[in-house]
């Protein structure tokens, strides 16, 4: 049972574990990742409406994908936590919403590549999750709630507007404001 707070230091450790799987098929590294992420992924899926047994099945599939696709992990693009989140998100769309998840293909002949000016835009990649978490905690509750709802409720902004009785434009501008505040807090913490 791991009890370490998920600081940026443990985040960096997780990156190394995924790389060890890619390099040598390191099973103890996989087991450590599983112990840390599987219970959080189960929580994520249940927040989004899965029952416990379906959530557990999807978690297994996500962790199998982590094992199989470890070679495509790139810590310059995303931390292990972010990378695993995107796998879980896509698996949920596929399995529970029964939709395809369209993603751009880095090898697409039609892709417009990053220009030299884009290099410094990747500042949020890597070991920043702890800072993002701290920034979310520091927001006024109504703003952090709105951000959590955006990620943990499978609702379009129109649906949020309908359930909250607010005009769609108001919902959008509140989400936009909350994300702006979050961005400022993250930059302040840097």
């Amino acid at each position: 049972m791991e009890t370490t707070p998920n600081t940026d230091a443990t985040g960096g450790r997780h990156d190394g574990l995924v790389e060890a799987i890619a390099a040598t098929g390191d099973r103890p590294a996989f087991a450590e990742l599983f112990e840390h992420f599987a219970p959080r992924l189960k929580a994520y899926l249940m927040r989004l409406g899965s029952d416990a047994s379906t959530a557990e099945e999807v978690v297994q599939e996500v962790m199998l994908t982590v094992w199989r696709k470890a070679a495509s992990f790139d810590r310059r693009q995303a931390s292990a936590g972010t990378w695993i989140f995107t796998i879980a998100r896509n698996r949920r769309i596929d399995r529970l919403r029964r939709e395809r998840r369209p993603e751009f293909d880095p090898n697409d002949p039609a892709l417009v590549p990053e220009g030299p000016a884009d290099a410094d835009r990747t500042v949020w990649a890597g070991q920043i999750e702890g800072r993002v978490r701290a920034a979310i905690e520091s927001l006024p509750p109504e703003q952090s709630d709105l951000i959590r709802r955006a990620y943990f409720e499978d609702q379009s902004h129109r649906e949020i507007a309908e359930t909250s009785g607010l005009p769609l434009g108001t919902v959008k501008s509140r989400i936009r404001l909350a994300m702006q505040r979050l961005r400022e807090r993250i930059d302040d913490l840097g």
Partner: protein, 223 residues
């Protein structure tokens, strides 16, 4: 064609919905296709995914069944199931370079051979089946210098330019640009005279079409 960077992007909340995974499939195809053409929004989606990773990491863990790890460890050496999606058709150069992969995956063939529908003398439309019960999606090609269909609508219409350009309300939209029309706009974009304009349009909510072309559209788009 120079790799110009788009000027007009999806709304910030739409990128958030895409990163969070709550956006419908048709709108996600539009975002992913824009991402192929827009390094700026690719970086933004990465940032939004970092927020998702951080939020998920801070959830109160929910214990799995005691044998969950053992079950997965036993499956690690299982052969991987073959990809469910069969390899698509081999596309010609025009299709390959005009239509980025996320949208190309939904085409059944090359641009020149698809079953385009006649929508007036200068407009062809190809409805695309993307997702169930979500917004309607279609490819639209418009002859140089002619107007795109004029309409008002009760939902938002999002248009991504793939080839050529159109001018709407004094602003020029070229490859990669996203134009967002709300239900308040009664707009009439016009393709620039130099080239045919190819667009991908996603329409949320029922249409109320006006004008002679609108009446022509109506029976089809109400489907």
């Amino acid at each position: 064609m120079a790799d110009a960077v788009p000027t007009f992007h999806p709304e910030p909340e739409t990128l958030l919905g895409y990163a969070a995974g709550s956006l419908d499939e048709a709108s996600s195809v539009l975002v992913a296709t824009h991402l192929a053409l827009c390094p700026r929004c690719r970086a933004e989606v990465r940032r939004l995914e970092t927020v998702g990773g951080a939020l998920t990491g801070s959830l109160e863990p929910v214990a799995l069944a005691p044998d969950a790890l053992a079950t997965v460890l036993a499956r690690l050496d299982e052969p991987e199931a073959p990809a469910r999606r069969p390899a698509g058709p081999a596309f010609d150069r025009e299709t390959l370079f005009s239509v980025p992969a996320p949208l190309r995956d939904y085409l059944g063939g090359n641009l020149s051979s698809l079953p385009w529908r006649w929508r007036g003398p200068s407009i062809r439309e190809l409805p695309l089946a993307i997702g169930d019960g979500g917004p309607r999606a279609s490819l639209i090609r418009v002859r140089p210098g002619t107007a795109l269909p004029a309409h008002t609508h009760t939902g938002a219409e999002t248009t991504l330019v793939l080839c050529g350009a159109f001018v709407d309300d004094g602003q020029s939209f070229a490859r990669g640009d996203v134009s967002i029309a709300t239900s308040d706009d009664d707009h009439q974009p016009v393709a620039t005279p130099d080239a045919e304009c190819l667009c991908f349009a996603v329409v949320d909510g029922p249409l109320r079409l006006t004008g002679p072309i609108g009446r022509l559209f109506n029976p089809f788009l109400r489907l």
